[in-house]
């Protein structure tokens, strides 16, 4: 029974998280002796998904899928799952996948486990480890349904290379209109998104005021990073809510998380805990963040950050 992957793309580009999903599905497929089918909603001819492990690519040709609509994507994927006999569906942890997957689960009468952090520990039935309590614990959950949907946490598995020749075939789905209509989209095109970022530069109340964020944005720019902030900073209105990371804000699972002037409240640490490497810069050596961080500098952000920007520029020039 094949494994179906919802291969999300953004403006025609398959995200790194999609490549990771396909590699994850491939490792499962090798264990289950089956194949990986990637379902795409935009022309996939530009990207070779076989190199990440896909055996087949189904191009869902339907103009209603040209912009993301959770109801329609769920409807389309449930048709594909039925047509291909897939018993496992892999989705990402993007906002769109989290929106869509519960609808798909009901359509397919499937069990759904999000925040999965590794390959199943058993395959019949499927048992997976997933983050709970905002990364403060891991749960091991068995799916009891005929079809299983797994939502893979970002950066939990990594991208692996294969030399599979994935054949692309058009696949027709029949869709009717949705009860939800998207009227407009407001998306910064030149900014790195927290959800996709490899590096996140985050700052807190230690910066004293919104007028001091220039150096944070500059540091983010040098590092190709997304900017984020602590809850108090967003509550004070210094930075937009969309930058708030932590338990009630956005989760962060980047390769590198740099916290500047953030003390490290338990709710904040929970939200960023999935990041691989954590750096803290704070004047207070007793700040709780130092217990959660891998590297730390005790010192004044207003001195360290400009120096860091300059040294990073030099580092990049040397390593370019």
């Amino acid at each position: 029974m094949p494994i179906l992957v919802y291969a999300e793309s953004d403006q025609g580009i398959f995200k790194k998280s999609t490549q990771e999903l396909i590699s994850f599905a491939r490792a499962m497929a090798d264990q289950m002796n089956t194949e990986v089918i990637a379902a795409v909603t935009q022309d996939p001819s530009s990207a070779d998904l076989g190199q990440y492990g896909a055996h087949k690519v189904l191009n869902l040709e339907n103009t209603l899928l040209s912009t993301f609509n959770a109801e329609l994507v769920a409807d389309a994927l449930s048709q594909v799952a039925r047509a291909t006999g897939a018993t496992t569906v892999i989705v990402s942890s993007s906002a769109n996948s989290r929106y869509m997957a519960p609808l798909l689960a009901v359509s397919l009468e499937a069990g759904y486990v999000p925040n999965v952090i590794g390959l199943p520990e058993t395959y019949t039935p499927i048992t997976v480890a997933h983050n709970v309590f905002t990364n403060k614990a891991t749960a091991f959950t068995t799916l009891q349904s005929g079809i299983s949907i797994l939502g893979l946490s970002k950066n939990a598995y990594g991208v692996h290379q294969y030399e599979t020749n994935a054949e692309i075939t058009p696949h027709e789905v029949t869709l009717t209109s949705s009860s939800v209509e998207i009227t407009s989209l407001d998306k910064a095109s030149n900014k790195v998104m927290i959800a996709d970022a490899e590096v996140v530069v985050s700052a807190g109340r230690g910066l004293k005021g919104p007028e001091n964020w220039g150096m944070i944005e500059e540091l983010a720019e040098v590092m190709g990073a997304a900017t984020a902030c602590s809850k108090p900073v967003s509550d004070l209105g210094w930075r937009p809510h969309s930058e708030h990371v932590g338990q009630t804000g956005k989760p962060v699972a980047s390769n590198l998380y740099i916290a500047i002037g953030i003390s490290g409240a338990i709710q904040h640490l929970a939200g960023i805990n999935s990041s691989k490497v954590k750096v803290v810069i704070n004047t207070d050596p007793d700040a709780p963040f130092f217990k959660a961080a891998d590297y730390g500098i005790v010192g004044d952000a207003f001195e360290i950050v400009p120096d860091l920007i300059q040294k990073l520029r030099e580092f990049k020039a040397q390593n370019a």
């Binding site: 689960a105 959950t141 009860s179």
Partner: protein, 246 residues
């Protein structure tokens, strides 16, 4: 307009997370419970709708009698009636099924749930509930205006937001942005007194099945101590050569 606000009963955000001796269940000893933050934003938005255009607000929780103080708190904040579905919340699917029976019986126009609970982080109940009931669904909702049966909503997406048009009946997965942190209400003495006499219905449901079962829990291994460095240069060196992230 009839509004149902789904309330998760969750450990306070500052709680230490521990499990029982055989690691099969959350250890509730000494834990303070609160209304799930994402649900509390939704409850406040519901109160605004009631005050501005008239509505009755019911709150619902799926769980045992121990969750009733959390429902009473929602009543004290301003909900009119509470419902407790007397069923253990085993997984998202079974909770959504239980809630769907309440939604269908009560014929609610608007169902507000938090985008996820801060304990099990499933984030699946609102969407599953909408799909089972055949209601429209907007997740990560940060803006909601209702006129008659027309709805305009704003959804937070990765890297921006999306404006949507839909109609009642509707389920939303709410979060901060629906209202601000400073808009949240603390129950006053009058509210607390009134909440004691407001109805709290206990209901049973039938034919509920779970799709998944959690076998055990683990806590992360203790972290190694932080490596303190003196300056930017040392930091860059370690991030490049040791951590290999730049």
């Amino acid at each position: 307009m009839k509004i149902l606000v789904c309330i998760s009963h969750v450990p306070d955000t500052t709680s230490k997370i521990n499990f029982n001796a055989d690691q099969t269940a959350f250890d509730t000893a000494g834990v303070q419970y609160v209304i799930n933050p994402n649900d509390e934003f939704g409850l406040t938005r519901a109160l605004w709708l009631k005050e501005k255009q008239g509505a009755t607000i019911h709150v619902v929780n799926v769980g045992g009698p121990e969750t009733e103080p959390t429902l009473r708190k929602a009543l004290a904040i301003g909900a009119d009636e509470a419902i407790r579905v007397n069923q253990p919340a085993t997984d998202g699917y079974s909770v959504a099924q239980a809630l769907s029976a309440i939604v269908q019986e009560g014929q609610y126009d608007l169902v507000i749930a938090g985008r996820e609970s801060i304990d099990y982080n499933g984030g699946m109940v609102p969407g599953m509930l909408a799909k089972i009931c055949g209601y429209a669904f907007v997740n990560t909702c940060i803006g909601l205006e209702i006129e008659g049966s027309s709805v305009t909503a704003v959804r937070e997406i990765d890297g921006g937001k999306e404006n949507l048009k839909t109609t009642l009946p509707l389920v939303i997965g709410g979060q901060k942005g629906l209202v601000e942190e400073s808009d949240l209400r603390i129950p006053n003495m009058r509210g607390i007194m009134q909440a004691r006499t407001k109805p709290l219905h206990v209901k049973q449901t039938e034919n509920i099945n779970s799709m998944s079962q959690t076998l055990r829990y683990e806590k992360p291994a203790p972290k190694q101590a932080v490596t303190l460095v003196e300056n930017a240069e040392q930091l860059i060196n370690l991030l490049h050569n040791e951590a290999k992230v730049i």
